[in-house]
Structure formats: C-alpha cells, structure tokens
C-alpha cells in the first residue's frame, strides 16, 4: 500500500442552496494513478478544484502529507506550486502558444533563457513545436488540449490533476499521453485523473474513487472497485 499524499475529510460544498459535495473521506495515494469516476454532474471537477487548492471556499479539511492545509492565499501558494492541473476545456491566455507554455515558469521567476529552453524541449517532446508561434485563438480543439498539457508539465509537478485529458485528442495522441502519464507515475509523480474512458480505467488505474450525486459510492484499489 502506498503513502497517502492528499486526504480530504468531511468536505461539504454548496453553490447557492444546492449542496454538490458531501464527502466523508477521500484519499489520494503517492506515486500512483488515482482515478476519480462518476456520472456527469456528480461533483468530480468540484472535488478536483478543492484537492488542488484552487478552490478554498469549502467546509471540511484537506491534508497534504498529514499536514492540515490552510485556506488563505499566502499559506498555500508554495504547495500549489508543487501541483499542476490539466483542465477540462482548458483556458489559454491571449498571446502565443509559447508564452502560454512558459507562463508557469515565469510565475516562478525562472530566467528567460531557461524558460525558452524548457519550452522548446517540452514542445519537441509533445510534437507541438510547429504551434509555438501561433496565437492561442488559432488552435484546433486537440491542439489546445496539447498546449494545456505542455503548460501543466513544464513545472515538473509533484502532483498532477487531470480532468478528462483525452477529450479532443486523436487516437495517436491519446495513446501517447496515456503512456506519458504512466511514465510519470513510474517516476514518482502522483496523478489524479478524471475520465469516462473505459480503456484508461481498465489499463491505468491504481486506486479508484467513484462519486455519485456528490457522495463517495465506492473507493479502493482497481481490483476492489466495481465501477
């Protein structure tokens, strides 16, 4: 059994009057492929926002390596910087693809030379070098997705949150990224993945949490869980 890197306890989250999350315990294991499953609207993205510390407006507690996480901007910035998120329908900033991919490094005050170099390397690796000079509004659906993946990986995150990555990706790319994410896990990165893709679930999952209507309905290793 692997170590627990993130643990959420008694999480409640409401929009206006509607309660969309009401969880007892959710665990994310270190250096493993953690899957978050459930039907549309069951609260997966909402939970991802909370675990990745992007949303701090919730009731309950989140622990990182056993330490209670605060909800103030200042306290959690350094933890957040160990994480990356690949979003469902990624938002790209105005400007070039190159600027978009380099931005997280700029936030971390890397030097322009290093940024330039890392962006080049990452683009080569993901086969999107031909897109670097394009503006973000000029990309196809799959190209957007690839750029957003490059942007998330460039900081070499400790934990990677992924919300339906295969959306819009062609067959080749899909396979490539499945392989890439597995490699990352093998290298010690923790991945939390939301997906509806049976292939991914059957072949990649180490641990699975299934949500329904804001509640955990099943949880365990991929052998234990009947999804």
């Amino acid at each position: 059994m692997k170590n627990v890197i993130l643990e959420a306890r008694k999480i409640k989250k409401s929009f206006d009057q509607d309660q969309v999350l009401n969880l007892d315990i959710v665990k994310v294991y270190e250096a493993a492929f953690n899957f978050l499953l459930g039907p549309n609207g069951s609260g997966k993205t909402t939970l991802l926002n909370i675990l990745s510390m992007v949303d701090t407006d919730y009731q309950g507690e989140v622990f990182y390596r056993g330490q209670l996480m605060g909800k103030q901007e200042g306290e959690i910035l350094e933890f957040r910087r160990r994480f990356s998120v690949i979003w469902q329908n990624p938002y790209l900033f105005k400007g070039t693809v190159k600027a978009n991919i380099g931005l997280p490094l700029k936030f971390r005050k890397s030097s322009p030379d290093i940024i330039e170099e890392k962006v080049k390397k990452m683009a080569d690796k993901l086969d999107i070098s031909h897109l670097l000079a394009k503006r973000s509004g000029e990309l196809s659906g799959g190209e957007r997705q690839k750029v957003s993946i490059a942007r998330a990986l460039i900081t070499e995150p400790e934990v990677l949150f992924i919300d339906e990555p295969n959306t819009s990706l062609d067959y080749e790319s899909s396979r490539y990224f499945n392989g890439l994410f597995s490699e990352l896990v093998a290298d010690g990165v923790t991945v939390l993945l939301i997906t509806h893709d049976l292939y991914q679930i059957q072949n990649l999952a180490d641990y699975i949490t299934v949500l329904n209507d804001g509640k955990v309905v099943n949880q365990g290793t991929s052998e234990q869980v009947d999804f």
Binding site: N49, V54, D55, L77, R80, R81, F93, K94, L103, F107
Partner: protein, 231 residues
Amino acid sequence: MEYIISGLQSALMLIINLDPEVTKVVTTSLKLSLTSTLLAALFGTPLGILFSKIDFKGKFVFNTVLNTLLSLPTVVLGLFVYSIISRRGLLGEWGLLFTMKGIIIGQVLLILPIVMALVRNAIHDIDEKMYKTAISMGATGTQQFRLLLSEARYGIIGALITGFGRVIGEVGISMMLGGNIKGYTRTITTAIAMETNKGRFSFGLALGIILLFIAFLINFIIYFYQIGESR
C-alpha cells in the same frame, strides 16, 4: 462656416510658427492631463478590479453611485474642491488654489469614477476560468493581477483613453481651480473658453484643432504600442 475655415488656417499658422504662448499652454495642458491620467490609472485600475471581484452588501448601491459620479459636472466638482482648498477651506494653508497641483487634484477626482467604472466593466467579462487557471499555475496575487491586466488589456486601455480624453478636453475644473492664469495655469481649453468669450471664435477653433492634433498623436502612440500588437 467661415470660422471653421479661418480656424483651420490660423491653427496651421500657429503650429508652423511655434507661437510661444501657444507652446506654453500646450505643454501645460499636456503635463496636467498626463499626470492626472497616470494618477487616476494608478488608483482607479486596482480599485475597479477590486470592486468587480469582491462581493459585499450594498454593492448594488455602490455601483449605482459610481455610475452616478460619471454625471458629475466639472463646475460642481471644481466648486467642491475649491471649497476645500480655498484659503477658508480645510486645506487652505497648503496654498493649492490657482496652481497646477490644484487642477490635478480636481482632474483625478473627475476621472477616477470613469476609470473605475470602465475597468469594472472590462473585468466583468473575463471568463471565470481565467482565474482558476492562473491560480492553479501558482500565480501570486500580484501575478494574477498582472495577468488580468493583460487579458483585459483592450478594455483597460480603453478606460484610460476615455479618462485622458476627459481631462485634456475639460474646462470647468481647470478654470475654477487653475484660474486660467497666463503663463502659469492657462491650458488649451481655458484659453479656448477665453478666446470664445472675447468673440475670437476662429482663434478658439484654431486652439481646438491643435488640441485634437495633440490628442491624436498621443492616442496614436498608445494604440501603436499597446493594441496594435495584441491579438
């Protein structure tokens, strides 16, 4: 009609001859309006962003008050500031009346609501996802702020251009707080008002044309550097 033609002619002559009096009012106007716009941008942009993001009770009323302040006539604002910086006013001892500083105070107050309101409108249309993405990328508060400025660039620069246009073209505050003192606080607009008063309409128009010419140059530079490159 003849005013317009002779106005154009004398504008041309004034520009060609670099008339020293005209040069003086032009530089005064420029100094004032650029300083005022800069100060208003410095305070108004963050305030506009703040008020578009935070939610508080009475925000509805606050927004309405902000919109109302767009109607504030320059004479009234001028009077208001006058009654504070006049010798009998609270800050009378500082001797701000009939100085450039006095005008700047009034002008900043004039466009602060405009800048705030237009920045608020620009920010309002930014996608909620932009914030989440920036946060998840580990941006600090300042970095989020800068990113927001850049994403809403078009609207924010629009706000500043509108503010600049308002101050360089306003006359009530400059007149009331500056006193239209020759060689000192006389601006293009107060000079225009004075010439018009004297019945020298075509000279007034000539100064107006010069003002527009200068505003054009400034807008050209801003547009060229900031908007031209975007998208």
